[in-house]
């Protein structure tokens, strides 16, 4: 009862005259009341303030996403008023900047997927095996040394990778295959594979490490070798996480821009000739953005149409990986 009165009294003082310094004195003089009652209003205020700040921070990213989608969709819809969506999705000639304009996006999609495929062929086996090594075989000390190196690899700016592809990998390829073009898909794809390798390895390793020790022991107790334990028990048990890592890697490869813009060239074409130049969706966006295409023209709007398609592709990939993780995750107690 006494304390309640005290709190009301102090509360009145707080709202009334607001004697900040004195207030502190009073509370320090009565330690019990201090912790329980005095700052209640102020604390509530601070709590509400913190709540609001945190909410705003979270809202910023959501609003940004919404804004991007809004912009993309607006210009994309304008584009499809001029170009039938069917022509866009099924056409095999992409010449929006030429006099004889044609808006078939398939060459760009083809280029994107071919580069991504090369990247995945490089990144998935090496990434998975590094993950297995780190999680199952490496002694703690080796693991502690290798993990940071992988992270450094992940931190290299992609423009560096781009020039690495163009100035280091391409010449080697040209030595081996003389018909290799200066800008070619193989070089860009291989280097992109090394770029996504750390992500592939790191996510797969996380997936392998959460496989319970008891499963490994159960397999060892049946007379399995370490390799048999790893390949037939640990990897299958971690499969959902590994699949997610693969899909995220593909998604990253599809969205990657700098390497392909520098090393893969700008020739939109359908095909599978890895030694020739191809243009990806991202490279096209760079090409037009850097050019002098005037706004409010159809050429300008192709940017948004291609951007929307790119966004949808990576979006679906990410949803898919999320779904796989949820659907196929084994729940261990």
């Amino acid at each position: 009862m006494v304390t309640k009165d005290l709190s009301r009294m102090l509360g009145a003082r707080l709202t009334g005259r607001r004697p900040a310094a004195q207030d502190v004195n009073t509370t320090s003089g009565a330690p019990d009341a201090h912790s329980q009652f005095v700052p209640r209003r102020r604390r509530a205020l601070i709590e509400r303030g913190i709540h609001a700040v945190l909410f705003l921070c979270a809202a910023v990213s959501i609003l940004t996403t919404a804004g991007i989608i809004f912009t993309l969709l607006g210009e994309t819809l304008a584009f499809f008023r001029d170009v039938p969506i069917i022509d866009f999705l099924t056409g095999t000639r992409w010449t929006p900047l030429f006099v004889s304009q044609s808006f078939g996006v398939l060459p760009l999609v083809n280029g994107t997927l071919v580069v991504a495929l090369v990247a995945v062929v490089v990144a998935v086996p090496i990434g998975l095996m590094s993950a297995i090594f780190l999680s199952e075989y490496a002694p703690a000390r080796v693991r502690a040394a290798i993990k940071p190196i992988l992270e450094v690899l992940a931190g290299i700016p992609t423009v560096v990778y781009g020039y690495f592809a163009l100035l280091f990998v391409t010449p080697i390829l040209r030595d081996i295959f003389p018909q290799t073009q200066v800008f070619n898909v193989l070089s860009a794809g291989i280097v992109m594979g090394f770029m996504i390798l750390p992500m592939m390895a790191s996510i797969s390793e996380d997936a392998l490490r959460v496989v319970p020790r008891s499963l490994r022991e159960g397999a060892f107790a049946l007379g399995a070798t370490k390799f048999q334990v790893t390949v037939r028990v640990v990897v299958p048990a971690a499969l959902s996480g590994i699949l997610a890592a693969i899909i995220l890697s593909v998604s990253r490869a599809i969205g990657e821009t700098m390497i392909v813009a520098i090393a893969a060239g700008l020739q939109p074409k359908v095909g599978f000739d890895l030694l020739s130049s191809m243009e990806t969706m991202t490279a096209y966006i760079v090409q037009v953005s850097l050019g002098d295409t005037p706004q409010d023209t159809i050429e300008y709007r192709t940017l948004f149409a291609v951007g929307t398609l790119l966004f949808l592709m990576t979006f679906v990939m990410n949803i898919l990986s999320d779904w796989i993780v949820r659907r196929y995750r084994e729940v261990y107690e």
């Binding site: 002694p139 703690a140 319970p212 008891s214 499963l215 490994r216 022991e217 159960g218 397999a219 060892f220 107790a221 049946l222 007379g223 399995a224 070798t225 048999q228 037939r232 028990v233 299958p236 048990a237 084994e330 729940v331 107690e333």
Partner: protein, 283 residues
């Protein structure tokens, strides 16, 4: 008979005891399948077992009881070198199986584990179908016979066949806890081991599932040697032929206090500490 007071002498006494018993109580002498000689074990610098000597006779159930943290499980895991998987572990002494020290340099732990199977405290079926759970062991060991027959035989032995025979494709993780544990036992049986080590196999199960596993253990004794760690003295009394009592010695390392025929250990223990433990005065 008095157990010695010094940790080093105690195992010898226990050894004599078990030798006498198998001769006197159980008619014909059963050969020892596993012989542990002065087994010492460390986790890093911490000694967890201070020289255990224990003989495990064939086709018997040996129960290991004792208060929590007294090294029962650690000892059990030494018997098939499961502790190899812990990097800081160190072992001294010998575990003789089939005439060979399993810790000898030229012994292949993988081969040895095929003959000394293990069932763990918590059921740990693989996230695979029931069928594949059983088939895993035989497959990695290069089994060439009819897998279907082996799966059925193993599940029958583990008294699980009737409950799962129509649904062998179902994931092992979808079974109940008791069924999962019997699946793990079936999985262990499928590689036809000589010895099965069980580390508190019922601690995560309800009483009904526990009863079924206990019945199963008694049946399996006909063909297998079983070593079971349990914190449940009634369980030890129900299922085992012989019981070993472990507790921590003065230095905080697990040691063997005494081993005897189960009946005798629970009625007339020779060591005061055993009596104190089984009458519930500590632990």
């Amino acid at each position: 008979m008095e157990a010695g007071t010094a940790g080093t002498r105690r195992p010898d006494v226990a050894l004599d005891l078990s030798a006498n018993d198998s001769a006197s109580a159980n008619g014909p002498v059963k050969p020892d399948v596993l012989v542990t000689e002065n087994l010492k074990f460390w986790y890093g610098s911490m000694m967890a077992l201070s020289g255990i000597s224990l003989n495990i006779p064939q086709h018997e159930v040996m129960a290991i009881i004792g208060p929590s943290g007294c090294g029962k499980s650690t000892y059990l895991r030494c018997l098939n070198r499961m502790n190899d998987l812990i990097s800081s572990a160190r072992v001294e002494g010998r575990v003789i199986f089939d005439g060979k020290n399993i810790y000898a340099r030229n012994v292949d732990a993988v081969q040895m584990r095929r003959r000394i199977g293990m069932v763990f405290q918590k059921p740990n079926p693989f996230p695979k179908s029931i069928y594949d759970n059983i088939a895993y062991g035989p497959k990695v060991n290069g089994y060439r016979g009819s897998m279907d027959d082996l799966v059925e035989h193993s599940l029958r032995q583990a008294a699980l066949w009737d409950e799962v025979k129509d649904d062998l494709k179902k994931s092992g993780l979808e079974l109940s806890g008791g069924q999962q544990q019997r699946l793990c036992i079936a999985r262990a049986l499928a590689v036809e081991p000589d010895v099965i080590l069980m580390d508190e196999p019922c601690s995560a199960l309800d009483p009904i599932a526990t009863t079924r596993i206990e019945d199963l253990i008694r049946e399996l004794r006909e063909n297998y040697t079983i070593v079971i760690v349990t914190h449940n003295m009634q369980q030890a009394a129900r299922v085992s032929d012989r019981t070993a009592f472990f507790m921590l010695d003065e230095d905080g390392a697990g040691s063997l206090v005494e081993v005897d025929e189960t009946q005798r250990l629970f009625t007339t223990p020779s060591d005061q500490r055993t009596e104190d433990y089984i009458t519930g005065r500590f632990g």
